[in-house]
Symmetry: C2
Subunit: 409 residues, 2 copies
């Protein structure tokens, strides 16, 4: 009989968000009349903007006639989109990233989940706690950890606590790590990173020959001009970092699927003999062998995000979510909650009531208020006692949700 | 410094199809006036059919208004599509596959490349030779092989020769293998498998507790009623096989991206203590953690393939390609080539001229006839001396290509 990959058995019962769905579905079945307000999974609610829809439709129409039909595209993504990304997301900020450094994909979850494939098993991997669960789960599935300990940590990973006392920013490690996942604006805490702070990480990486796996999926929510949108805004970062970006939250593509990963030409790692190899050809080989590129009409739609109209429309949608976040934060503070995030980020990170466990608070909020949030413990042991609320909602839902929460106090 | 995954260094210089592209681009640059006829990569040329385009457009329009907008979908795919697949591809042939067994994805290349992740490293993997390169390359990248030997075989894989003398069908192994990749109708040889032959494989798998990884991406080209479209048409297969299917060649989705994998509930494998575990939850966990579902409008478009009109339109396109294959085979036979495949399959597998090496024949055909095919050696050592031509082309290109080939004789 064939053998399973036993590393899967080390994982907890389910991925966080399916578990939330299961609890919500159960509640809905038992309370069919209760209107549920979802501030849980962090999914956008605004439709695609007009210029994106027009380009998407145009892309579909091109697929309808032989003269403009497109079959297999380049696995790395069409040059027209990679060039726009390089220009608008990087060169316009004075960062010299070229179209060749960009790999278009169908999601940052896929890319951050798959990226460890190109790195050896001997790497010491640094993981923030709390953290987006995909980094840990994919490391476990890939056999890069031992068993889970009683405290919820997996043997073999190097956890970087990001608690209240450190302002939800991991301290620069004292030991040598080889790969470190960072995420700013942070999911789940909503914390952002200043230029000075990121410079410390780049310095650390350069001194320790470490590679930073920088998840910037929420960069579009940064409004403060002092906060970098990209790790590559830090001098020297191109030789020590790769970056993950997505159209999901930037342009409402959670159901449309487009993202990209930036792997600068300068980035290198070594083999066991110490010889250096560039990373970009490895990721290219991974993608050409195991991925077939993003749907052409979707890439065409993503390109429209960079048009004059598209940039304006998308910024308006983000402003709307940011205003939700502002309202939520102000209102929750008024109710007496301890609240973090919610500025330059779509997530509110609040302390549960009376030191409740976060799943207990989840059940309370669902039962008493019909509001779905995300239990902090789902993001790691240090998330215990916290709760994530997402600003991706319609204004009236936000207001209704806040009103209901105020009543359970 | 971080360490690379050194298994990548075992791979040959490039994935087959990018290498072909490089040679063709070079030739085009040097011969800008020469019109190239592409029968190489096996990419479709006919546009999406009308009913698929309509559904695709409708899906895009739904994304344009809040009331019908869709954010994150189920990672496994929408139930509306999984139910159609179960009904039309399986239940209508008397095969009891349910919607829960279906996992919608963005490509069979992704699925066949990722599937080994859920299996342990100790499995003995059987690979046909010649074969679609992704199975071997992803096994190498995943550290499931040793180095490449001088004969082109990787240590640690179990090769099943499919040469002329065995009618391009692998012999049932005498040893115990744990996982075997099979592909029918075959890429690259165009060979199909009869019910009797597949029954031998299912019997082998049942006797040896082996799992068959059955790639049926070309099943839509089967016109002979005697030839099974699915491994699950063979009694007992549900406990020993999973199946990979795609809309790429069935409905011209190479640039649109949609496929699916079938993992029956009955399928099990063991851990190192010999305990049995169902495979479906493992693949589900892999997909929910590292994949985010297929673009909603694309799934909507794929669903239209099963409409009354869609089935008719898609069948007409396939008939067109099959007629190409028939013309090609007849014509090449007349020229004196030894030709296989081309019936119930979109691929022609021909012997090179005068025992030439297959890359040499590739260069000759490109230079003398401006025709791009695929060198058999790109599919494995036993492909040497053979050449794949694809029937995915416009009729006039096919005729022009054949005329040009006839002149280099």
């Amino acid at each position: 009989m064939a053998w399973i990959n036993e590393n899967y058995l080390k994982l907890k019962a389910g991925y966080l968000f399916p578990e939330i769905s299961r609890r919500v579905e159960k509640f809905s079945r038992e309370n069919p009349d209760k209107k549920i307000i979802r501030m849980g999974i962090g999914d956008v609610t605004k439709p695609l903007v007009a210029s994106v829809v027009r380009a998407f439709e145009e892309g579909v129409r091109e697929m309808a006639t032989a003269a403009t039909f497109r079959g297999y595209g380049p696995e790395q993504g069409y040059a027209f989109l990679r060039e726009l990304v390089a220009q608008w997301d990087y060169q316009s900020r004075g960062v010299q990233i070229s179209a060749d450094d960009i790999f278009i994909s169908d999601g940052s979850k896929c890319d951050t989940g798959n990226i460890l494939e190109i790195f050896g098993n001997q790497n010491k991997i640094g993981i923030c706690d709390p953290v987006y669960p995909v980094y840990v789960d994919s490391a476990v599935m890939g056999g890069r950890t031992g068993a889970v300990q009683e405290n919820g940590y997996f043997d073999g990973l190097y956890y970087l606590p990001c608690g209240e006392e450190s302002h939800f920013l991991p301290k620069i490690p004292e030991q040598k790590l080889d790969l470190v996942f960072l995420c700013f604006p942070n999911n789940p805490t909503g914390q952002t990173a200043t230029r000075e702070y990121l410079t410390q990480w780049v310095d650390y990486a350069r001194e320790n020959d470490c590679i930073l796996l920088y998840d910037a999926a929420y960069e579009a929510f940064i409004r403060d001009v002092e906060i970098p949108h990209s790790i590559f805004e830090i001098p020297g970062a191109k030789s020590v970092a790769m970056e993950f970006r997505s159209f999901s939250k930037t342009a409402g593509f959670t159901g449309t699927r487009c993202a990209f990963t930036v792997v600068p030409q300068e980035l290198e790692a070594r083999n066991s003999q110490g010889e250096k190899f560039p990373i970009r050809p490895l990721w290219s080989r991974r993608q050409t062998t195991k991925f077939n590129g993003v749907s052409y009409p979707v890439q065409k739609a993503a390109a429209a995000v960079y048009s004059t109209e598209g940039r304006k429309e998308v910024a308006e949608v983000i402003d709307y979510y940011l205003e939700n976040a502002r309202i939520m934060k102000a209102s929750l503070l008024r109710m007496g909650f301890t609240v973090y995030g919610g500025k330059n980020a779509p997530y509110i990170w609040l302390k549960t009531l009376r030191g409740m466990k976060s799943w207990e608070f989840f059940d309370l909020l669902l039962k008493e208020a019909g509001v779905v949030g995300t239990p902090g413990a789902g993001f790691g042991p240090a998330g215990e006692g916290f709760f994530r609320l997402s600003a991706f909602a319609e204004r009236e839902s936000v207001e209704e949700g806040l009103l209901r929460i105020s009543k359970i106090q």
